[in-house]
């Protein structure tokens, strides 16, 4: 499971990630901020203005 999820085949890479609370925090903010918030706002900004 853990190996399959990590690109890096080095053992314990996954455990290192799971033990790094700050990296998890960064990922947990960055992923939704990009895919949900920024992309969503981008969609709205790109609605053409009525003439």
């Amino acid at each position: 499971m853990s190996e399959a999820n990590s690109r890096d085949v080095k053992p314990h890479a996954m455990q290192k990630l799971l033990d790094n609370n700050w990296l998890l925090l960064l990922l947990g903010i960055a992923v939704p901020a990009v895919f949900y918030t920024l992309w969503g706002l981008w969609d709205v900004i790109n609605i053409p203005i009525a003439k």
Binding site: M1, S2, N5, M14, Q15, L17, L18, D19, N21, L24, L25, L27, G28, I29, V31, P32, A33, F35, Y36, T37, W39, G40, L41, D43, V44, I47
Partner: protein, 569 residues
């Protein structure tokens, strides 16, 4: 270490945990505030429910919206988040035999949240802030409504960082070895999601506050909705993660169970961190302006990775209980382990009802209605409150209640009072919540809309007749809402009676008997295998297949129904 002296800690006779007194006080106050707010929010909920009952219609429309705003905010935000603060401090300090990083900041968390909640309550009760919990612009509330919410959120954010700092202390002072215990890792997951949640909330509520005092002249309603739901939906995911951690905790407390695979459970939490929050998009499936690519990517492709994680937890929690029970000798048949579980212990029964209720009622319906096409059938109908009382009430709230029955002796150092009431409480509350949820979903499928005080539309220019059965479902649902309220009051009475009148547990009293570790019992028994046909948890496997089949079936029923909504010719 100059700050840590021995007398700061006591050894708890009930749990055997080494308890830091300051941390314990903070857990107490946050949990106590939570329960008091649950009472207040529940009373407003009852008012709302009795209004939505076509044959009662208790409140006037104005007062209905006031009560709905109060109910939504107090229960959804205040009860839940105060309780979560208590859980985080408990995980960071008690579970790790640790102290809190910065008790002063923790008190700042408590007071900011309390003052914020009070400001919101004053604004709502004043009658000019009936904007409901979503406070969609351009609806306007009083400035102190938004300011209160902002203070509350800042308080919660401080609490998150106190927890993260507490983990740093634990690591530095080596109060644990290796990786964090799984339940604490669940706390980390909840905290990560909480930080995204709160930052989203601040990003949108601060400008809205400035707009309400006239410093900004326009807030785009579509942008508001996107950012607000980054807050509104993600906050639900904090709840999910917290109650799942509580399930794991209770499985180990009551059965001496161990997670079936730490790796798999941790991997599932990681999936939550990465993908769970994207589900926020399911609130915007009917919004114009947002592309289908955005909607489908966030609500279908990515969210299924988080759904997968939920299925993993849903499988490993009962699975670990089954394995523990079998190791302890209940190794016959498919379900002996479950039948012989301690159903009279509210800690267990509450937890298991939460698991089943969350999975079958809240979970299945949530997954299915997040599909863009199916969402069109039920968007903004009573189906929604039906669904989320399945998750929030039958799931989260029930789990929080269950763990409270354990926290009372450990944290409040009192024996549970009114044990007979406590024993029945999970059943009464769950019965109410389950039937209420299902009935509301039924009514919603017939088009009865949410957030409306009168389904007969008396005196409205655009009248509409719902089928009689929809009214019947609303009446029935709300009767069960009353039962649910009775269950909530039973809980509150037990908690207050225990805290104030329960028999004190002296600090030096004899340790309470410990639940035997399932592995140790198994080793002593000399047996080699458990389960059936090489499967360690066959009963859980069957339950999981039933859940899976139900999802698939429910999915098809909904698509079939969708195909009949517009007749094509």
């Amino acid at each position: 270490m100059t700050t840590t002296t021995l007398s700061e800690f006591r050894t708890d006779p009930v749990s055997g945990l080494k308890v830091n007194r300051t941390a314990n006080t903070l857990v107490k106050w946050n949990a106590f505030a939570a329960v008091v707010f649950l009472l207040v929010g529940g009373i407003f909920g009852l008012g709302v429910a009795l209004t939505r009952m076509p044959s009662v219609q208790l409140l006037s429309p104005e007062f209905f919206y006031l009560a709905l705003t109060a109910h939504g905010l107090i229960n959804l935000a205040v009860w839940i988040i105060f309780f979560e603060m208590a859980v985080l401090y408990f995980l960071g300090a008690h579970v790790l035999s640790n102290r809190l990083a910065t008790p002063r900041w923790a008190w700042a968390q408590f007071w900011l949240m309390l003052v914020g909640a009070a400001m919101v309550a004053v604004a709502v009760l004043g009658g000019n802030s009936s904007v409901m919990m979503t406070s969609y612009v351009p609806l306007t509330a009083e400035p102190h409504f938004y300011l209160g919410l902002i203070l509350f959120a800042v308080g919660a954010l401080i609490g998150c960082f106190v927890f993260l700092g507490t983990l740093v202390v634990a690591k530095r002072e080596k109060t644990y070895n290796g990786s964090l215990p799984l339940v604490v890792f669940g706390g980390v997951t909840a905290t990560v999601i909480a930080v995204f949640t709160i930052v989203s909330g601040a990003l949108i509520l601060i400008p809205t506050f400035l707009w309400s005092v006239g410093l900004i002249n326009h807030i785009d309603p579509m942008m508001y909705r996107i950012i607000w739901w980054g807050f509104g939906h993600s906050s639900q995911q904090i709840n999910v993660v917290t109650h799942i951690s509580i399930w794991y905790l209770i499985a180990s407390l009551v059965f001496g169970a161990k997670p079936m695979s730490e790796k798999v459970s941790r991997g599932a939490f990681l999936l939550y961190i990465l993908f769970l929050q994207l589900g926020s998009a399911h609130h915007l499936l009917s919004d114009p302006g947002l592309t289908s690519a955005w909607k489908v990517f966030n609500t279908s492709y990515m969210i299924y990775l988080a759904v997968l994680a939920s299925m993993i937890h849903g499988l490993t929690v009962p699975g670990s209980i089954e394995v523990a029970q079998r190791k302890k000798g209940l190794d016959t048949g498919l379900f002996t382990w479950l039948r012989k579980a301690p159903w009279g212990n509210p800690i267990f029964s509450g937890m298991f009802l939460s698991l089943v209720g969350f999975g079958f009622i809240g979970g299945i319906t949530g997954v299915v209605m997040s599909v863009e096409q199916i969402n069109m059938i039920i968007h903004n109908t009573m189906y929604l409150p039906g669904h989320f009382h399945g998750t929030l009430v039958a799931g989260t709230t029930m789990a929080f209640m269950a763990v409270t029955y354990w926290l009372i002796p450990v944290v409040f150092q009192r024996k549970l009072a009114l044990a007979g009431v406590a024993k029945l409480q999970p059943y009464v509350f769950s019965l109410g919540a389950w039937v209420f949820s299902i009935a509301l979903m039924g009514a919603g499928t017939m088009g009865v809309q949410r957030r409306h005080s009168d389904i007969t539309f008396a005196g409205q220019p655009l009248a509409y007749q719902y089928p009689e059965i929809a009214k019947g479902l609303m009446d029935m649902g709300e009767i069960f809402a009353v039962i649910m309220t009775v269950g909530a009051i039973m809980f509150i009475v037990v908690v207050l009676a225990s805290i104030f009148t329960g028999e004190r547990i002296a600090e030096d009293s004899a340790p309470w008997p410990k639940v035997a570790d399932a592995d140790v019992v198994f080793e002593k028994s000399g047996k080699k295998h458990i389960g059936i046909g090489g499967m360690e948890a066959p009963g859980t496997f069957v339950l999981a297949m039933i859940l899976f089949a139900t999802i698939v079936l429910y999915y098809f029923i909904n698509f079939k129904y969708l195909s009949t909504v517009w007749g094509m010719s």
